[in-house]
C-alpha cells in the first residue's frame, strides 16, 4: 500500500530534457521507480538514457500507460503542464517547479476540482514511498521503509527529520512534500486522510511552518477524524511578523499564522509537538515503544 506512489506508479517527466529534469528522472529511475516517459515539446522521438521523449503528455500516456506526471518545467509554463497532464487523465501530478504565480495556481486548483487528478505541490520536493517508488527530488538514501507516514510544507527540513527517524531505525511508509506555496494541491488534510486509511501506516508526522492556517485546520481534522497518533513540528517560532522567510507562504500576517498559535492548536487536538527536529524523532520513538 503506502499512499500516492508505489510499485505501480508509472512516471512521465515533464521537462525531462532540462538539466534538473534529466538529473532527477534518472535518479528516480535508479531508485527503482518506473520512469516510463518524458515530455518536451519539439523533442518527441528522442530519448534520455533510454527513456522515450514525447511531444505531449497524451502521446506519452497512450504509448506507455503513464499514470503519474512529474513536472520540472519552468514557472511560466508550469500551469500549462499541469493542465496538460490532467487532460491526459493522469491520476497524480507532482509539481516540483517553484516560483509559479499564485493566480495561475488559484486557477489550476479550481480547474482540477471534480477531475480525477490529484496534485502535489508546486514548489515541493515530491513524494517517496521508501523501497517502492520515488517521484521527485527527495534523496532516497536518507529514507528507509517502515510504518511512519510524513507530510511536510518544507524540503530540507523534511530531510532533516527523516534522517533523524532513519538513524533511530524508524522507517517511513510514505513521505509527502506538499510544498511551501500559499495555494497548493494535496495538503496536510489530504495526506492525513490517506494515511489514516493506509494499512501500512501506524503514525503520522506533520511538519508545518509559519503562515496561513493549514496547520490549524489539520489540527481540527486530527481531533475529529484521526485514530492514528500524530506528531508535529512547526518551524518559525523566532520569525518576525510581516517578513517573508523564503517560502512564498512563510509569512506571519497580523496576529495569525504564528508558530506558537499553530503548536497550541495542534496540542489542543492531542497532537504531540516537538520543539526541535530531534525531539520530533524522540516523540515518534516514544509513541512506538
Amino acid at each position: 500500500m503506502a499512499i500516492l506512489v508505489d510499485e505501480d506508479t508509472k512516471v512521465v517527466v515533464g521537462g525531462i530534457t532540462g538539466s534538473e529534469g534529466t538529473f532527477h528522472a534518472l535518479r528516480n529511475r535508479s531508485y527503482g521507480t518506473q520512469v516510463v516517459a518524458g515530455v518536451t515539446p519539439g523533442k518527441g522521438g528522442q530519448n534520455v538514457e533510454g527513456i522515450p521523449v514525447f511531444d505531449t503528455v497524451a502521446d506519452a500516456v497512450e504509448a506507455t500507460g503513464a499514470n503519474t506526471s512529474l513536472v520540472f518545467v519552468p514557472a511560466r509554463f508550469a500551469s500549462e503542464a499541469i493542465y496538460e497532464a490532467a487532460d491526459a487523465s493522469v491520476g497524480l501530478i507532482v509539481c516540483i517547479t517553484e516560483g509559479i504565480p499564485v493566480r495561475d495556481m488559484a486557477q489550476v486548483v479550481v480547474s482540477l476540482r471534480g477531475t480525477g487528478a490529484a496534485l502535489v505541490g508546486p514548489n515541493c520536493p515530491g513524494v517517496i514511498s521508501p523501497g517502492r517508488s520515488n517521484v521527485g527530488i527527495i534523496p532516497g538514501e536518507i529514507c528507509t521503509p517502515g510504518r511512519v507516514g510524513l507530510v511536510s510544507r518544507s524540503g530540507t527540513l523534511t530531510y532533516q527529520i527523516v534522517h533523524e527517524l532513519t538513524q533511530r531505525g524508524i522507517g517511513q511508509s510514505t513521505c509527502v512534500g506538499m510544498g511551501g506555496d500559499p495555494v497548493h494541491g494535496i495538503g496536510f488534510i489530504g495526506s492525513l486522510e490517506r494515511f489514516e486509511a493506509d494499512p501500512d501506516t501506524d503514525l503520522v508526522v506533520m511538519i508545518g511552518e509559519i503562515g496561513g492556517d493549514d496547520e490549524e485546520r489539520a489540527a481540527e481534522y486530527v481531533r475529529d477524524r484521526m485514530s492514528k497518533p500524530v506528531v508535529a513540528y512547526i518551524a518559525g517560532f523566532t520569525a518576525p511578523p510581516g517578513k517573508r522567510m523564503g517560502h512564498a507562504g512563510a509569512i506571519i500576517t497580523g496576529s495569525s499564522g504564528t508558530a506558537q498559535g499553530k503548536a497550541e492548536a495542534l496540542e489542543t487536538a492531542g497532537v504531540k509537538v516537538g520543539r526541535t527536529p530531534t525531539e520530533v524523532a524522540e516523540l515518534v520513538q516514544a509513541a512506538r515503544s
Binding site: 488559484a106 479550481v110 524540503g155 530531510y159 518551524a235 523566532t238 523564503g246 497580523g254 527536529p277 530531534t278
Partner: protein
C-alpha cells in the same frame, strides 16, 4: 511586493477608478506648490510600505500651502515608524457623505480570492470584524470565473442605496486591477460616497505577487523606489534569500524550512543567543554561492559566531566545504564558524574541512550540537 499608495492609485486610475486630484512630491516647497494648485485644502500622506499611517501621524489634513509645507517637512524629517520618508502624496480634500471599506485578497485557506465590503470605512478593519461583524459582507471569488456583477451586488447590498451602483462598479474595477497586475491584495480603505453622489477611492493598498514579476515588467521596475538594507541588497543581487534579524549568531542554511528551524533551535539552545539573520542559499548551491553567503554574513558587525547548517539533497556538501574555504581565503573572520554537514557527499565535505584544519572552523556532528556550540560561542561561553 507592497506598493506605495501613489503607485496603487496610478494602477487604479488605469482601470477607471475615480480618485481625488493629487501630486507626489519630494520637498516641502513642492508640497506647498501642489497644495496651492489643488485649492489649499489637502491631505499630506507619507508614502511608505507600512500600514497604520492614519494613527501613526503619517497623514495630515491642512488648509493652506504653508500648512502642507510644514507637515511635509515634518514627515521628511521624522520618517515613519523607523522608515525614511522620501516622498509624500498631496491630495485634494473631498466632501465625504459616507465612508466604506473594500478589499480583494488571496484567501489561502480556500485556495482562491476573497472580496469584502464593510459599510464602515476609514478604520481598522480587524477591529470592525471583531466588534461589528455584520458590517462586513464576504464573497469568495473563483479565480477562473472572476468577480461577476452578482458578486458585486451581493457585496454592496448593505450600503446606502445611493452608493450601491457606484460601489459595485468600483469592485469590478478593483478586480480588474488584481488580474491585470497579478495583485494578491487590492484594498480601498476607505472608499467614499461624496456629497455629490459619486463613489471614489481615497486610499490604495496593493500587494503584487513576487512570483509574477517576470510578466509585470512595469511593476518590477518600481522595486527601486523602496528602501533596502545594504546587506540585503548585496544578498539579493547574489540570488540569496536574506533577512537581517536582531541577534548575534549568523545563520547560513539550505532551504527555507531548515533555516527557520535553525533559527529556532539556536534560540532554544539556552545561551540567550539569537539569530542575526535568515539566509537561505537555496537548492544546489555552488562553492561561489557559499563563499558569497559567508561574506555577506561576516560583513554584519552584530555577528559574533556563524552557524552553517546544510542538509545536502541537490546541494553537495563537498562543494559547500570548498565554498567555505574559498571565502576564508578572501576574508579573515574574527569569529568562529560552526559547520554541520549532512546528506549528499557529507563525508567528503567533512574530510575537506578537517584536512584544511582552519583555526576558525568548528565542526559539529548534528544540528542540535551545532546550534548549541554556535550559541555558546556567540556569548563567549565555552
Amino acid at each position: 511586493m507592497d506598493l506605495y499608495e501613489h503607485h496603487g492609485k496610478d494602477l487604479f486610475e488605469r482601470h477607471g477608478i475615480a480618485l481625488p486630484e493629487r501630486a507626489v512630491v519630494t520637498t516641502p516647497e513642492d508640497a506647498a506648490r501642489a497644495a496651492e494648485r489643488l485649492g489649499g485644502h489637502v491631505a499630506v500622506k507619507v508614502q511608505v510600505q507600512a500600514g497604520g499611517r492614519g494613527k501613526g501621524g503619517g497623514v495630515a489634513l491642512v488648509h493652506s500651502p504653508e500648512g502642507a509645507a510644514i507637515e511635509a517637512a515634518r514627515m521628511f524629517e521624522e520618517g515613519f515608524k523607523g522608515t525614511a520618508v522620501t516622498r509624500v502624496l498631496v491630495e485634494k480634500l473631498v466632501d465625504i457623505a459616507a465612508q466604506f471599506y473594500a478589499a480583494i485578497s488571496l484567501d489561502r485557506s480556500a485556495g482562491t480570492y476573497l472580496a469584502m465590503v464593510s459599510n464602515e470605512g476609514g478604520v481598522d478593519i480587524e477591529e470592525v470584524a471583531r466588534s461589528k461583524p455584520e458590517a462586513i459582507r464576504r464573497v469568495h471569488v473563483d479565480a477562473v470565473r472572476g468577480l461577476r456583477s452578482y458578486h458585486a451586488r451581493r457585496l454592496t447590498g448593505h450600503l446606502p442605496p445611493e452608493a450601491r451602483e457606484g460601489a459595485a462598479r468600483l469592485l469590478t474595477q478593483a478586480w480588474g486591477v488584481l488580474v491585470a497586475f497579478d495583485a494578491t491584495l487590492v484594498e480601498l480603505n476607505p472608499f467614499v460616497l461624496l456629497e455629490g453622489g459619486a463613489v471614489m477611492a481615497l486610499d490604495a493598498k496593493v500587494t503584487i505577487d513576487d512570483n509574477a514579476l517576470f510578466r509585470q515588467p512595469d511593476i518590477a521596475a518600481l522595486a527601486d523606489s523602496f528602501p533596502i538594507d545594504p546587506v540585503e541588497k548585496r544578498a539579493k543581487a547574489a540570488g540569496l534569500q536574506y533577512l537581517k534579524l536582531d541577534g548575534e549568531v549568523g545563520i547560513i542554511g539550505n532551504g527555507a524550512g531548515l533555516v527557520m528551524s535553525t533559527l529556532d533551535v539556536v534560540k532554544q539552545a539556552g545561551a540567550r543567543a539569537e539569530a542575526a539573520n535568515f539566509l537561505d542559499v537555496g537548492g544546489g548551491a555552488s562553492s561561489e554561492v557559499m563563499a558569497t553567503s559567508l561574506e555577506v554574513i561576516l560583513s554584519d558587525p552584530d555577528v559574533k559566531s556563524v552557524l552553517v547548517n546544510i542538509f545536502g539533497g541537490i546541494t553537495r556538501c563537498d562543494l559547500v566545504a570548498k565554498g567555505i574555504l574559498g571565502a576564508l581565503e578572501r576574508v579573515s573572520p574574527e569569529v568562529p564558524i560552526v559547520v554541520r554537514l549532512d546528506g549528499t557527499n557529507a563525508e567528503e565535505g567533512r574530510r575537506i574541512l578537517a584536512e584544511a584544519n582552519h583555526p576558525r572552523i568548528v565542526p559539529a556532528k548534528t544540528m542540535l550540537e551545532a546550534a548549541e556550540r554556535a550559541a555558546r560561542l556567540a556569548k563567549g561561553v565555552a
